[in-house]
């Protein structure tokens, strides 16, 4: 089990990681040759305009002073402002981050709810047709590029079957006739809170396709990890002794073996969750999903430093958080894991 002391130490270490990520992205982005002030000024700026903006943004100061200014703003919770759109990054992220999290959480839920039972059964019937079929699905899920999968999914479910929408988070009709009041930024949650079930259904309808496409990678990984560790768990003596005691196959597979098999899978699934936050940008772009991936892609194309740094920090925080949750879960599942 974990202790408060452990938790505090882990958080202390996380601050360290965060500072490292901040220093690295800040200095790298300021060292590469570009002219952010010109970007800020807009199309065809005059030189004196650029100089004025450089002064306003503090870009004329030495680098360490710029860093100091940035950190002091950051400590007040201010991520700065986009050079490109001049909008507050805090405001932007409060819209885009929930959109991405909603998508990624949906994808990871699909991956787990589907991947765990499939992996368990594949591990229970090694070398069966089912096992080979799931291997194929798993390998395809990991190796097929998401943009290709996205296009194929759109072709089938939108063009051919006309079952699901092509993209975006919600239809225009829904925003006009039953608008959702934003509270958490998660449409499904906001709509449910306000009892706006028409909007809820519409948001879900829009979520299905991108979530499925984004789920392919974590799904493949989950299946493979669970299948391999199930095989291992099932060859253990405690499984033989459970069979000798007359326990049913269902209990042996889904309770006794799965609890042992889920441990190694947990780490990888956790990482693929964090990975999906930025990995989602292709899927978000194709499905016009207004998320962090799409946001940061545009920032990179425009060399919009404040946005790039801010998103890097947010993703780092997500990684740290997911890793912490995985470690805590492992210590909850396995009494032998002592976190100290």
């Amino acid at each position: 089990m974990f202790t408060l002391k452990y938790l505090l130490r882990r958080l202390g270490f996380s601050v360290f990681v965060l500072v490292g990520a901040l220093v690295l992205t800040f200095f790298v982005s300021h060292v590469i040759p570009s002219n952010p002030a010109a970007l800020y000024a807009g199309a065809r700026p005059r030189p004196e305009q650029v100089a004025e903006i450089e002064k306003k943004l503090g870009l004329d100061k030495p680098l360490h002073q710029q860093f100091y200014l940035y950190v002091s703003e950051l400590l007040e919770g201010n991520l700065g402002e986009s050079y490109h759109s001049r909008r507050s990054i805090n405001t932007d992220l409060s819209i885009f981050l929930p959109a991405t999290l909603e998508l990624v959480i949906a994808a990871v839920l699909i991956a787990l709810l589907l991947g765990i039972p499939v992996g368990v059964l594949a591990g229970a019937w090694p070398r069966s047709p089912f096992d080979y079929a799931t291997r194929l699905v798993a390998i395809a899920g990991v190796s097929v590029p998401s943009f290709w999968l996205a296009l194929i999914a759109q072709f089938i479910f939108f063009s051919q079957l006309d079952l699901l929408p092509l993209g975006s988070r919600i239809s225009r009709d829904a925003t006009l006739f039953y608008p959702v009041t934003a509270q958490t930024g998660f449409y499904l949650i906001d709509a449910a809170i306000s009892g706006n079930w028409k909007a809820w259904a519409d948001a879900l309808h829009h979520l299905i396709l991108p979530a499925l496409v984004l789920a392919a990678y974590p799904l493949g990984i989950t299946i493979r990890m669970i299948q391999t560790s199930m095989l291992e768990a099932l060859s253990e003596t405690y499984i033989t002794s459970a069979r000798a005691a007359g326990l049913s196959r269902r209990v042996i597979l889904f309770k006794l073996a799965l609890k042992n098999a889920i441990m190694p899978a947990l780490t990888v699934v956790g990482l693929s969750f964090a990975y999906s936050i930025t990995g989602a940008f292709l899927v978000e772009t194709i499905f016009s999903w207004p998320g962090v991936g799409k946001y940061v892609t545009e920032a990179v194309l425009n060399v919009d430093f404040p946005v790039i740094i801010a998103v890097t920090l947010v993703v780092t925080v997500v990684y740290i958080f997911v890793n912490l949750v995985v470690d805590l879960l492992q210590s909850l599942l396995d009494p032998r894991v002592r976190l100290a």
Partner: protein, 324 residues
């Protein structure tokens, strides 16, 4: 009264090197309330015999011949669902190393609870009550505390007691104990064997004790079955068989034991090695190593000859003379 009878059991394993003949005809009977020792060297088929009784052989193993009679049924013919009713409930099994035979991620109470639930006890409070009682029965101190701990928090001896408590949960008639003390300290060994004897005496549970240790057999068992290369070479009651071993292999085994007063003297050994399981053996499996082997020993499989009412030996030396 015979409770369980193994008849002419043949098991083979398919391996990349060809078929391995693990059991080449095992016969013995287990009576109600007795402890029967299954002894032999590593690889002689003791564990395979134990596992095939309740259908727990590995996937590459196959029973090619024989029967396991238990209450008018042949266990080898039962479906998986019917076997599940027998396992744990009627015939339970204890394993060599309790550290790996207990699931590391569940408490002792949860694991006993699973067995109880599998055999009909549905109430959680009832399960806990029973688990406490069982832990107490197997001589664990402070059951109320141990019921909620995980296996790694127990010592080896405590783990094996917990394992035995699990086995007793559904009140079986037979316990198959596969080398239950090999992984334990010598002092703990004696305690676990005492516990098995106590269960046999108080609850009339029959025990098949699989071991390679003749000392354990002499101390613990009433009956003994000596295996060699997948066959029974000699069987009988412990008093008569240890006093007058008849088969040359049994004699060799007993004379190879170090005894009081033999200090400084060289131990007897049985020369030669055990035949490989890959060979098909025509005659007596022990013939190549036997000092008394006759030409026919290599050709023919000897049948059992009786020595008194309580002992049988599969050797031509003891065949009643045939006066035609």
């Amino acid at each position: 009264m015979t409770l369980l009878a193994v008849e002419n059991l043949h098991v083979q394993f398919s391996t990349p090197f060809g078929a391995v003949y693990a059991l080449r005809g095992i016969d013995f009977e287990l009576s109600k309330g007795e402890i029967l020792g299954l002894v032999g060297e590593t690889g002689c088929g003791k564990s395979v015999t134990g596992r095939s009784i309740i259908g727990l052989l590995d996937e590459n193993a196959e029973v090619t011949q024989g029967r396991v009679r238990f209450e008018n049924a042949d266990l080898l013919q039962l479906s998986e669902a019917d076997l599940r009713e027998i396992r744990g409930n009627r015939i339970a099994m204890i394993f060599q190393d309790p550290a790996v035979a207990l699931n590391p991620l569940f408490t002792i109470g949860q694991q006993i609870g699973d067995v109880l639930r599998a055999h009909g006890a549905d109430l959680r409070s009832e399960q806990r009550e029973r688990a406490l009682q069982l832990l107490n029965d197997v001589g664990l101190p402070d059951p109320a505390q141990l019921v909620d701990v995980y296996p790694h928090q127990l010592s080896g001896g405590q783990q094996q007691r917990a394992m035995i408590a699990m086995c007793l949960a559904a009140e079986p008639d037979v316990i198959i104990a596969d080398e239950p003390t090999t992984a334990l300290d010598v002092t703990i060994q004696a305690q676990i064997l005492d516990l098995l004897r106590m269960l046999q005496r108080d609850r009339e549970i029959s025990v098949i004790l699989i071991t390679h240790d003749l000392g354990i057999v002499a101390e613990t068992c009433q009956q003994v079955v000596v295996l060699y290369a997948g066959r029974v070479v000699e069987k009988g009651s412990v008093e008569t068989l240890f006093a007058q071993p008849q088969h040359p292999y049994t004699r060799g085994l007993l004379s190879a034991l170090p005894r009081a007063g033999s200090r400084g003297r060289e131990l007897n050994v049985i020369s030669g090695t055990v035949p490989s399981g890959l060979e098909r053996i025509k005659g007596c499996a022990f013939a190549p190593r036997c000092g008394f082997a006759m030409p026919r020993c290599h050709e023919q499989q000897p049948a059992f000859s009786a020595f008194g009412p309580k002992q049988q030996s599969a050797c031509f030396l003891h065949e009643p003379l045939n006066h035609d």
